[in-house]
């Protein structure tokens, strides 16, 4: 059962029949088997699935961090598949932002310098109005001069979010951004991500294990064994949990 999603809206990222195979021979692992997915502009999509189902792999392939074995990946109008190093660098500079579970910030730079780093790497100046908006939304104005080590995990993650947003990328990929946070700081980060989608039309793709986190999204895509097996629009924590339970049972039978 392959999901087909919102063909009508313009896609910020798209995977067409994407296969990813690691290793060869005995040690071969098929991480993705023919994934088709579209992520519309201005929407917040969550990817869920059991551990080892290929969530991170899919995200890495979508973001051009990893190459696909077969199939095509597109970000906006750009075909990611087949880009060289300079093309990929340009893509990361202009089109995509990242938020990771951990090790998100350079320990030697202050929060502000971390936030502005992608722009300074690209040699661009921040749009002051947008910068102020971002800083206010993240609520870090009084912490800008601090080093990562002087910030809590939640604050660090908010800095990472601000960094991803400030460059206004086509799409932000977040891999378990709340995985290391308690529920309150997690909720802060998720609220912030949802607001940036609702109020500023940002596109976000987030991998998560947490049904509550997934409930912040507009849509949830479920992966199992490298395939998209289900999806939910306007999810709530309950509907997500239900779907996960349903998915677990046939998988266990299949084993």
């Amino acid at each position: 059962m392959t999901a087909t999603v919102g063909q009508q809206a313009q896609a910020a990222a798209r995977a067409s029949d994407v296969w990813k195979v690691y290793g060869s021979g005995e040690a071969q692992v098929v991480a993705l088997r023919g994934v088709n997915a579209e992520f519309e502009r201005g929407r917040f999509t969550a990817i869920m699935g059991p551990s080892g189902s290929g969530k991170s792999t899919l995200m890495h392939c979508l973001a051009g961090l990893d190459s696909v074995t077969r199939g095509t990946v597109m970000i906006g109008e750009t075909t990611v598949t087949g880009l060289g190093d300079s093309g990929l660098t340009k893509l990361r500079r202009d089109k995509v932002g990242f938020i990771f579970q951990q090790f998100n910030l350079l320990p030697t730079l202050t929060a502000q310098e971390n936030i502005l780093l992608p722009l300074s790497i690209a040699g661009r100046k921040p749009d002051p109005a947008w910068y102020d908006t971002v800083i206010d939304t993240v609520g870090l104005r009084d912490r800008l001069g601090h080093r990562p080590a002087q910030l809590s995990g939640g604050q660090q993650q908010r800095v990472a979010c601000a960094r991803a947003l400030v460059a206004r990328p086509e799409v932000i990929f977040a891999d378990e951004p709340t995985g290391n946070l308690d529920s309150r700081s997690g909720a802060e980060v998720l609220n912030f991500l949802r607001n940036s989608v609702r109020e500023h039309g940002q596109t976000i793709v987030m991998v998560t294990h947490d049904p509550t986190a997934a409930a912040y999204a507009d849509r949830v895509v479920f992966l199992a064994d490298g395939e998209i097996v289900s999806e939910l629009i306007e999810p709530t924590a309950e509907t997500v949990l239900d779907t996960m339970k349903k998915l677990d049972t046939p998988a266990e039978v299949a084993n």
């Binding site: 660098t89 990361r92 320990p107 030697t108 310098e113």
Partner: protein, 849 residues
């Protein structure tokens, strides 16, 4: 991006400083060398300008045998007294003086020993009266033949005072004079540039310093008011014809200074050579530090890549770091170099007997050299790690990357190729196939060999390190330490290779010099059939000499069978310069030195005959009956007939002249004497009697053959010691490298160390683990150094086989010492990192990112 780089640099300042220290030391050598030569050069300029300040025009004879500074003091052709009268009549000359002034007046101090010089001349001259420059401080001028005056520094050094009877050695054996005065120089100076002077009356000076009456070393003239020195020079030259060198005082000062500076450029080259070694070692260290830092920053660099940095920007950031380190190191090194250069100049001034050292100057060459060397070395060393950094995939930011073990095939193949090139160059250079570029070829070969071996070390390190580590593997910490040192073969290898360079050079040099010493001394003890030898240790440019009368007296002593005195001089033979010898007793050639004739008769020599060694004969295409023209330091050229040819050996001279030629030698006194005793005579009986004969020849002593050979070969010990001291610095830099690598490894493994501590490893055990790692690395480096050094040394010794170095002596005890020292060095280098590792906070380490 630039900011991110600089911030990360600041966060790692300690480790970069450690690696930068190697560059600092190298740069220090480079700039120190330039500062030293510049300062000394200007000091010499001042000295000579002073010495010729009241001379407008100087007339001197052209030297018969031109010598370089390193070959000894050149003997000027004397100017006849008649020329003085001629100069006085040249219009424009206000005053003209005949100057006797020659090196080789050795004053015997109150302790009975000759006041030694380590370089500056010991002038014997005629007293020309007081002047703007020279004033008598005590006593009066010399009036009678038995009177002298000396400069204040010499009086102090000899501990003599006005009224004392003092002995002076000149061309003639010891003669006694009354010291009637002591003089000093303007500005209250006791000496100019460490030069010591003994002033006689003119006839005595002529006889003792020039060997003939009515001649002068030079004639100086002062111009009348309104006549320029240049126009006077042209006038004098015109009057005298082309037979003499006529120069202005300024010109003479400049020429004299320039010839001394040539000698200085040698010191410069030596220091630059050691700078090169320090920098080579430094390159290894910087390469290592940057590699480790890049490895540690993998996630950080990957994060930068993930948020849009290009590969080139990553290279840029690493190179920028290198530039910053290089700049800081260059500045520090330049500062230290200026200090060291000034200090050395000061010490040199002291050693040279009070050379007034010119003010500190920093020549442009020092600054340019410092910055180019410091920057280039650092950046070149950082390039490889920078390239590697740019290849880090952005995805690495999201993975827990253990640095994958890259295969060693490429390095190993590269290492083999480079080593082969090095071996090839060495073969060419040592085999004498490189023509004029022999030295450069050999040095290039050594450099390539080092780099090649360094590239091969990762491969060698696996088995060797595991073998060395096995010694310590009896305890758990030992086992862990051994595994740690083997876990990053490249890192271990480069650290060890840095240590290898210094130790290999010391070992190589020792192998060569020890082999030379042992070959020469065994040849000497086997062939020389003398029981007693009269000789002295040379300290200045002139070999010690003694009264020839001692030879005749010794020959009459009971029990003495044969006595031979050896004389030497640089001469021009058929147009080319060569060292010639003369023997007071030609028969000694066969009977004492066991030399065999290959043609003609070598047992006797008529006054117009000479003997050649077989090498000289074949090189110059001469045979018995050929005639040769010999120009000695003094006198006119003479023609000799070859009457015999003897077999060449390490100990033979190129040619032997009859004793009658000796009076034209620069030093007409014997420099070595050999005494053969009749069978059954005891050495102890004769030695004290010869000693008594030498009472007036304080420069030499009489010793048995064994001591003589030791004394001669021990002259090689001084250069050996100097090389060892300077290379010890390269070794010290390498030790810093070990500290650095360990410190970085400890930092890198903070988490792992915390884990080990959490599961029960005690502090002491943690420290032992780190120490074992350090000892294994430094032992490995020392072992490599000893092996590579012995190999290089043996190669050179083999190549010198034809030069008479027939024995290969390996300095086993020194090599053993190095291995023991390496163990100690390892323990010491481990102290700080080990303490740091032991202090790791267990909880903090596990949470460490």
């Amino acid at each position: 991006m630039v900011r991110a780089t600089l911030k990360s640099l600041l966060a790692r300042k300690v480790r970069l400083l450690l690696s930068g220290l190697a560059v600092v030391l190298g740069v220090m050598f480079v700039s120190g060398a330039f500062v030293l030569t510049d300062t000394l050069g200007r000091s010499f300029d001042a000295v000579f300008a002073d010495g010729f300040s009241d001379v407008d025009v100087n007339v001197a004879g052209k030297p018969k045998v031109a010598l370089s500074e390193a070959e000894g003091e050149q003997v000027a052709t004397p100017v006849p007294a008649a020329v003085l009268e001629q100069v006085k009549t040249v219009p424009g000359v206000a005053e003209a003086k005949g100057v006797v002034n020659a090196d080789g007046a050795r004053l015997i101090g109150s302790n009975g020993k000759v006041v030694a010089s380590f370089g500056p001349p010991q002038l014997g001259e005629n007293w020309l009266g007081e002047s703007d420059l020279v004033t008598l401080r005590e006593g009066r001028e010399p009036r009678a033949d038995g009177e002298i005056v000396v400069n204040a520094a010499l009086a102090k050094a000899a501990k003599v005072k006005v009224g004392d009877r003092v002995g002076v050695l000149t061309l003639a054996p010891k003669q006694e004079f009354t010291l009637v005065g002591v003089f000093g120089y303007s500005g209250g100076r006791d000496s100019i540039g460490g030069v010591n002077e003994v002033a006689f009356t003119t006839p005595v000076a002529q006889r003792l310093m020039l060997g003939e009456p009515d001649v002068f070393t030079s004639i100086t003239a002062q111009a009348t008011d309104g006549t320029s020195p240049e126009s006077l020079r042209d006038a004098v030259a015109g009057a005298l014809g082309g037979q003499y060198e006529v120069k202005t005082g300024e010109q003479v000062a400049a020429d004299a200074s320039a010839s001394l500076k040539e000698g200085l450029s040698f010191i410069n080259k030596v220091l630059l050579g050691f700078a090169a070694v320090a920098l080579l070692v430094g390159t290894f260290l910087i390469l290592n530090t940057f590699s480790i830092i890049v490895a540690q920053r993998t996630r950080e660099l990957a994060l930068l890549r993930a948020i849009g940095a290009s590969g080139r920007q990553v290279i840029g950031s690493v190179v920028l770091e290198a530039v910053a380190v290089g700049l800081i190191a260059s500045v520090l090194g330049l500062g230290a170099g200026i200090g060291v250069g000034a200090l050395l100049a000061y010490l040199f001034g002291k050693l040279a007997g009070g050379l007034a050292v010119a003010g500190l100057g920093v020549p442009a060459a020092a600054v340019i050299g410092a910055f180019s060397v410091g920057l280039v070395i650092t950046v070149v060393a950082a390039l490889l790690p920078a390239l590697r950094a740019s290849r880090i995939p952005p995805i690495a930011a999201m993975q827990d990357v253990a640095n994958p073990d890259r295969p060693l095939t490429r390095v190993t193949v590269g290492g083999a190729v480079v080593t082969a090139i090095g071996a090839g160059l060495l073969f060419l250079g040592l085999g004498g196939h490189a023509g004029d570029n022999t030295l450069a070829t050999i040095l290039g070969g050594v450099l390539f060999a080092f780099i090649g071996v360094a590239l091969l070390t990762p491969l060698i390190s696996r088995p060797v390190v595991s073998l060395l580590g096995a010694i310590f593997a009896w305890s758990v910490p030992g086992k862990l330490g051994r595994l740690n040192s083997g876990r990053n073969p490249r890192r271990t290898a480069i650290t060890a290779a840095a240590l290898m360079v210094g130790i290999a050079l010391v070992t190589g040099v020792t192998v060569i010099l020890d082999s030379a010493k042992s070959s020469i001394s065994s040849l000497a003890t086997d062939t020389i059939k003398a029981d007693l030898v009269i000789a002295g240790a040379q300290s200045g440019p002139r070999p010690p000499s003694f009264d020839p009368a001692v030879l005749d007296k010794a020959a009459t002593l009971p029990g003495v069978q044969l006595v031979d005195g050896e004389y030497g001089d640089m001469a021009v033979v058929n147009g080319t310069r060569t060292w010639v010898a003369a023997s007071s007793n030609v028969a000694a050639l066969e009977r004492i030195f066991g030399t065999k004739a290959t043609a003609g008769d070598i047992s006797r020599l008529a006054p117009d005959q000479l003997l050649l060694s077989s090498d000289t004969a074949s090189a110059r295409n001469l045979s018995v009956g050929s005639t040769v023209t010999v120009q000695l330091s003094r006198g006119d050229a003479r023609t000799y007939t070859v009457s015999g040819i003897y077999e060449s050996s390490q100990l033979t001279n190129p040619m032997v002249l009859p004793p009658q030629a000796v009076r034209d030698f620069a030093m007409p006194q014997p420099i070595q004497g050999f005494v053969q005793l009749a069978p059954g005579t005891r050495v102890e009986d004769v030695q004290p009697q010869v000693e008594r004969l030498l009472a007036d020849s304080p420069e030499v002593t009489v010793v048995d053959l064994g001591s003589f050979v030791k004394q001669q070969t021990s002259q090689l010990d001084t250069p050996l010691r100097m090389i060892q001291i300077l290379l010890a610095l390269a070794i010290a830099i390498a030790v810093l490298g070990i500290v650095n690598t360990l410190a970085l490894s400890v930092l890198e493994r903070t988490r792992e160390l915390g884990l080990l501590r959490a599961i029960g490893l005690r502090r002491a055990q943690t420290m032992r683990m780190i120490t074992v790692e350090a000892v294994v690395i430094s032992l490995f480096g020392a072992l490599l150094g000893v092996v590579v050094g012995s190999g290089l040394g043996a190669a050179v010794v083999r190549a010198l086989k034809d030069e008479g170095i027939t024995k290969l002596v390996l300095p086993w005890s020194q090599m053993g010492t190095f291995l023991i020292l390496a163990t100690i060095v390892g323990v010491v280098a481990a102290v700080l990192p080990a303490v740091r590792a032991a202090r790791i906070n267990v909880l903090g380490a596990i949470a460490h990112d």
